[in-house]
């Protein structure tokens, strides 16, 4: 086994965080280490936390970590913030709410910038979660970018997904009803000392009642918290564990794991195939011509892609590829 992989499995933070940088920067050598780590993953419990900007996700995560630590669990946190579409730069400010845990050897916090990835996560999130899993973290919390509608990517990654709401956001619930509200398992109304909490909860219950029944039979739970004062956090954490219990005993559990495994495989496949073609186009210096031909309407993207793919694999190559499999 590769030395870096060995050190990471032993829990070495410096090696792990260097690998995470390589993963994030898509350095090819990172893949070799990931190959070895993957076989050791699957033990961590993954919790996703999403919700609008300013709803208190980071503070809530910080408080949840306290409870996990008191129960003797080690924790990994992946906190995602947006990249500027104009400069490529980012300010990653989730961590500042969690700095109490900075010198706790049982807590590993990593901030990530979206780098153009939509859906609230980064392209690297799954792999970075895998590294933390292989390091032996018992619980991994993934905090998405502050979004509110369609960030369903987190649901594929997490075992339990939490949506954080705050009172007084008007139609926020309307806005999320079509997306994540159908799939999140737990809802939190944070800053619940504020006016409008009752109404928010009523609205939420109405929307949940109207939503399609879940196949696994789980009925989403709702918690009220005041993260900053540490109120309601214990209850929330026990709610998470209740869901964990229920999920593992449910009939759909195996199916969910199957789907998740398939999604991971598809991600890697897609990324590999894409990179291969992009590199080829770059190497042959064809970008300008492709863009020019498309803009001049000399050809269409569908035919071009068909052409490039058949050039790469050809009919014969395609069949030999399948026979190898």
């Amino acid at each position: 086994m590769n030395n870096s992989a060995k050190r990471i499995l032993e829990g070495d933070i410096a090696t792990a965080s260097r690998l995470m940088r390589d993963i994030d920067d898509r350095v090819p050598s990172a893949i070799e280490i990931l190959k070895q780590l993957y076989l050791k993953t699957g033990k961590a419990y993954i919790i996703g936390v999403t919700g609008a900007p300013g709803s208190g996700k980071s503070t809530l995560v910080d408080r949840m970590v306290d409870v996990f630590r008191k129960e003797g669990k080690t924790v990994g946190i992946v906190a995602v913030d947006p990249t500027s579409p104009f400069t490529g730069g980012a300010i990653l400010g989730d961590r500042i709410r969690m700095q109490r845990h900075a010198t706790d050897g049982g807590v590993f916090i990593r901030s990530l910038a979206t780098r153009g990835c939509l859906g609230g996560l980064t392209r690297s999130t799954q792999d970075i979660v895998n590294v933390m899993d292989a390091m032996g973290k018992d619980i991994i919390v993934v905090e998405t970018v502050g979004v509110g509608q369609d960030e369903v990517a987190i649901v594929h990654l997490a075992h339990t997904s939490i949506v954080v709401l705050v009172p007084g956001m008007g139609d926020a619930i309307q806005a999320i009803k079509a997306g994540i509200i159908e799939i999140a398992e737990i809802f939190v109304i944070n800053k619940s000392e504020r006016e409008g909490t009752d109404k928010t909860e009523r609205d939420l219950r109405t929307v949940l009642e109207m939503a399609r029944k879940r196949e696994d039979g789980w009925e989403p739970s709702i918690f009220r918290t005041e993260a900053i004062l540490n109120k309601g956090v214990m209850e929330l954490v026990s709610g998470i564990f209740q869901h964990k219990q229920a999920m593992m005993q449910s009939k759909g559990f195996k199916e969910k794991l199957k789907e998740r495994t398939k999604a991971t495989f598809l991600d890697v496949l897609q990324s590999k195939v894409m990179t291969q073609f992009i590199e080829k186009i770059e190497k042959e210096g064809k970008w300008d011509r492709i863009i020019h031909d498309l803009m001049e309407k000399r050809t269409d993207p569908y035919s071009l892609v068909e052409h490039i793919v058949s050039e790469q694999y050809g009919k014969n190559k395609m069949s030999s590829l399948t026979s190898e499999l």
Binding site: I13, A14, S17, R18, M20, R21, D25, R26, V27, T83, S84, T87, G88, G89, A90, I91, L92, G93, R95, I96, Q99, A102, T103, F108, I109, R110, S111, A113, R115
Partner: protein, 136 residues
């Protein structure tokens, strides 16, 4: 992604407990606008700073310092002890110019006292991260 194109990751932290945040905000924003990923660390003790820098895999540590040079000394020692002394450390804040040599002796690559231009800070960071990467 080629070596030069990899985004530079920076941890900005305050060792001074004086509540003067403006400088940190301004420098963090300038770095973001120059395409860097800036982790906002806040007011931290030296051990927290070093742990955070390691966990976040940063290339650069930007310290806002007052007169607490002892804290800086601990940061530099801890970085070395933890094998993270490849991190470029730069500093700013209300530093008397005559103290700059002392800080550089501790291992700080450059000190930007009041009046330094944002461009100078950004350029220094980019140049030095690049040469560190190429030296590898």
């Amino acid at each position: 992604m080629s070596v030069e194109n990899r985004p530079i990751r920076v941890l900005m932290a305050k060792t001074a407990l004086d509540g003067h945040w403006r400088g940190v905000y301004v420098v963090a924003t300038a770095m973001r606008d120059a395409g860097m990923e800036v982790i906002f660390g806040g007011e931290l003790n030296p051990y927290q700073i070093v742990e955070t820098a390691i966990q976040e895999g940063v290339n650069v540590l930007g310290l806002n310092i007052g007169s607490r040079y002892h804290q800086i000394r601990i940061v530099m020692e801890q970085l070395k002890k933890k094998g993270a002394d490849e991190i470029l450390v730069i500093a700013g804040g209300h530093v008397p110019r005559e103290d700059i040599p002392l800080l550089k002796e501790m291992g700080i690559a450059e000190v930007f006292p009041p009046g330094s231009s944002l461009e100078a800070i950004v350029n220094f960071t980019k140049e030095n991260v690049k040469s560190k990467r190429l030296a590898k």
